[in-house]
């Protein structure tokens, strides 16, 4: 059984069909990358998998470990092991990072019938992950993402992923707005999480991140469809030739279905 199986997924947002039939399978231990020009539907796919409710699924099926992902609420998907690092992490004044992470972890443990973690057990583990992401521990007693720089917000997303240890990690344009140092730290955090028990879906516009997180498979999304799939070398080709090349080829090889 695959970790994630997407079959003919069609999604509408505010009356517009954004995803027009996606098929994608990810197995545990694999890192897939979705690339594509702006507006191609990359983020929509990530958000649908994280169960954002503003997106309307009009057709298709998504199985996560064989379970119907599209029937799950966001918190259920999270507890089953789906994690999305946000493209735009949200600031939540009044809730500290530490409290947030412990609440989240305990919500998941409760869902899995495990004992909740008290502060004594949680803090040493948390501190270790904070160190891995080279973050200032002082930030952790501050409100979630409030007053964080762009790079700190993105690192905080990966920190959350490291704490929650998902089965499927989706990175939604985690590289956008990062300088090279921050990018390296983020990649280090992600690579430390690569394991045979975990799948990853790295959504990005640029190939740059994939120099550091080398994917097993690359898929190019154009106008709501996967126009081409290949190995990691496909990313380099795209970097060289741009998306226009795929665009034209996709239109040439895939006849319009309407």
């Amino acid at each position: 059984m695959s970790l994630l199986e997407i079959k003919n997924l069609r999604v509408r947002v505010a009356g517009h069909e954004i995803l027009k039939g996606i098929d994608l399978t990810i197995d545990s231990g694999e890192v897939h990358s979705i690339m594509g020009p702006n507006g191609s539907g990359k983020s929509t796919l990530a958000q649908v998998l994280a169960r954002r409710e503003t997106y309307q699924v009009i057709d298709g099926e998504v199985l996560f470990n064989g379970k119907d992902l599209l029937a799950m609420k966001p918190e259920e998907a999270a507890c089953e092991g789906v994690f999305m690092a946000f493209q735009y992490p949200v600031e939540i004044p009044g809730i500290s990072n530490t409290y947030f992470m412990r609440s989240a972890l305990n919500a998941m443990r409760k869902y899995r019938n495990q004992d909740e973690m008290d502060a004594m057990d949680f803090l040493p583990m948390f501190r270790e992950k904070v160190k891995l992401l080279e973050m200032d521990e002082k930030l952790m007693s501050r409100s979630v993402n409030e007053g964080f720089s762009g790079g700190e917000k993105k690192r905080n997303e990966i920190l959350q992923m490291a704490v929650l240890e998902p089965k499927l990690a989706i990175l939604d344009e985690t590289d956008s707005g990062l300088d090279i140092d921050a990018l390296r730290i983020v990649a280090k955090g992600v690579n430390a999480m690569r394991s045979k028990d975990r799948g990853m879906l790295v959504v990005t516009h640029y190939q740059r991140l994939l120099n550091y997180i080398v994917p097993d498979r690359v898929h190019v999304l154009v106008d709501g469809r996967i126009a081409r799939s290949g190995g990691s070398e496909l990313a380099l080709e795209l970097e060289e030739k741009g998306y226009g090349w795929i665009d034209g080829e996709a239109q040439a090889t895939v006849p319009a279905s309407t």
């Binding site: 809730i95 972890l105 959350q160």
Partner: protein, 456 residues
């Protein structure tokens, strides 16, 4: 225009009876003060919504109801365990039932001069005369005159020069009755130069009881004092609560007023600081949480009357059901009050389509070198923030509750750490759990069958 009083005789009769027995009735100056106040009340009558300051708050239900003034010693509280916990040890704690001191539920530590106003009027009337009624504005509405005419007791606190009182002084005002009653607690809080203290006023009543509490507090903050004042109001759907806090600040006095309104049929919270001395600082911080058909009105009137003074107003409102909230923030900068720095922020969360908020800033600036800003926001629970929490495994209800607590937490953060803040934090948690119950926490409101036993 005034609301025709349905029972003017009730007030007149009550006044005549009270005049013979009230605290300090043998003192000519006090009788005169009361007589003037009653005259003023009779002239003004209760305000109507045609009155600009009462546009959003209709008090005709108060005018319509025939309230009686309970006599001292007529009732005994049946459930003292429902009173708030002790906030310090030793704690100065005065408990008033329907406007009268309950001695057995009160403690008076030796170190602080805390007593009942009535006792102090007997002991040293001249001290009281120095301050009582000197600051309260008798021209603005009928409630301050009504209080002055009818008060029977309240707290008298005097902290002398340089003294630092660590534990909060806790004043508890309970209204309990099976028929409509009114009480008019009157507090006089006097702080000499350079002292520090915290005073907590807490107003309580129980479901189903029609009570009207009309309190007035005069707080005199001497030079370079640091004072925290808490107004905790937690009454129920049938209760009317009008409170007026008048703060007089001397030079470099630093006063924080924290209001926490957690329910009530009709609540009006007047806060009126006057920064009379140079370099004064005033924080006016508040949280109001309304559900059902509750009506919670906050009327701020901040007067900068001297140069270099600073005021900060922050009020957060949470409104659910058909609740109606009001925030009226008036800032007056007098002509000589140059270099005034005044800021006002009112944030509101509406949790239902039927909840309502009226927010109104009002700046009157007569000086030319000042900084005054104001801002108000009205919104719902942030969907994006909620999704963020849920995407990390936190259940929707828990997430909503966390966001509510975080919103309320903005007000908590402005309170100094200590017993008073912890108490407030606990009350807010408890109250928000009624609005957004978590699994296994479905509300079981304390069923109180009888709160009062008639004696005598």
């Amino acid at each position: 225009m005034t609301t025709p009083m349905k029972h003017p005789d009730t007030y007149l009769d009550a006044f005549h009876r009270l005049d013979q027995r009230a605290a300090g009735h043998e003192l000519a100056w006090l009788r005169q003060l009361r007589a003037h106040a009653f005259e003023r009340f009779s002239q003004m009558g209760f305000p109507t919504t045609h009155d600009e300051d009462w546009r959003f708050t209709n008090v005709s239900a108060i005018a319509r109801t025939r309230f009686s003034l309970p006599h001292e010693g007529r009732g005994r509280l049946l459930r003292p365990e429902l009173l708030p916990p002790r906030l310090g040890n030793p704690e100065a704690r005065l408990t008033f039932l329907n406007g009268h001191l309950v001695r057995e539920l009160s403690t008076f530590p030796q170190a602080i001069q805390v007593s009942s106003l009535k006792a102090e009027l007997e002991r040293s009337p001249d001290t009281i005369r120095l301050h009582l009624g000197r600051y309260l504005d008798m021209q603005r509405d009928a409630f301050s005159p009504l209080n002055t005419a009818f008060f029977e007791d309240g707290a008298y606190v005097h902290v002398t020069r340089g003294k630092v009182i660590e534990e909060p002084i806790h004043l508890i005002f309970v209204s309990a009755s099976d028929r409509p009653i009114m009480s008019h607690p009157r507090n006089l809080l006097v702080f000499d130069e350079q002292c520090e203290a915290t005073v907590v006023e807490e107003y309580i009543s129980w479901p189903g009881e029609v009570v009207f509490s009309n309190s007035a507090t005069e707080l005199i903050a001497g030079e370079s004092t640091t004072i925290s004042h808490y107004m905790i109001e937690r009454e129920h759907g049938e209760a009317f609560n009008i409170s007026t806090l008048r703060i007089q600040q001397a030079r470099s006095a630093n006063v924080a007023s924290h209001s926490v309104l957690l329910g009530g049929g009709l609540v009006r919270n007047n806060v009126h600081p006057v920064l009379a001395g140079e370099g004064g600082e005033c924080l006016i911080n508040g949280l109001f949480v309304g559900t059902g058909r509750e009506h919670l009105d906050n009327y701020m009137h901040v007067e900068h009357a001297s140069p270099h003074s600073t005021s900060r107003q922050f009020y957060n409102g949470i409104l659910d059901g058909h609740a109606h909230g009001v925030f009226h923030g008036r800032i007056v900068v007098h002509k000589n009050a140059q270099k005034t720095d005044a800021k006002q922020t009112n944030r509101n969360l509406l949790l239902s389509d039927n909840a309502q908020i009226d927010t109104k800033p009002q700046l009157e600036i007569y000086a030319d070198d000042v900084k005054c800003t104001h801002g108000a926001t009205i919104g719902q629970i942030d969907d994006t923030a909620l999704f963020y929490l849920r995407s990390r495994g936190i259940e929707e209800r828990v997430g909503r509750r966390l966001l509510l607590m975080a919103f309320a937490g903005q007000c908590l953060e402005r309170m100094s750490a200590g017993a008073a803040r912890s108490h407030v934090e606990h009350l807010i948690h408890e109250h928000l759990s009624l609005i957004e119950p978590l699994p296994g926490e479905e509300s079981e409101p304390v069923a109180v069958e009888r709160t009062l036993e008639e004696v005598g």
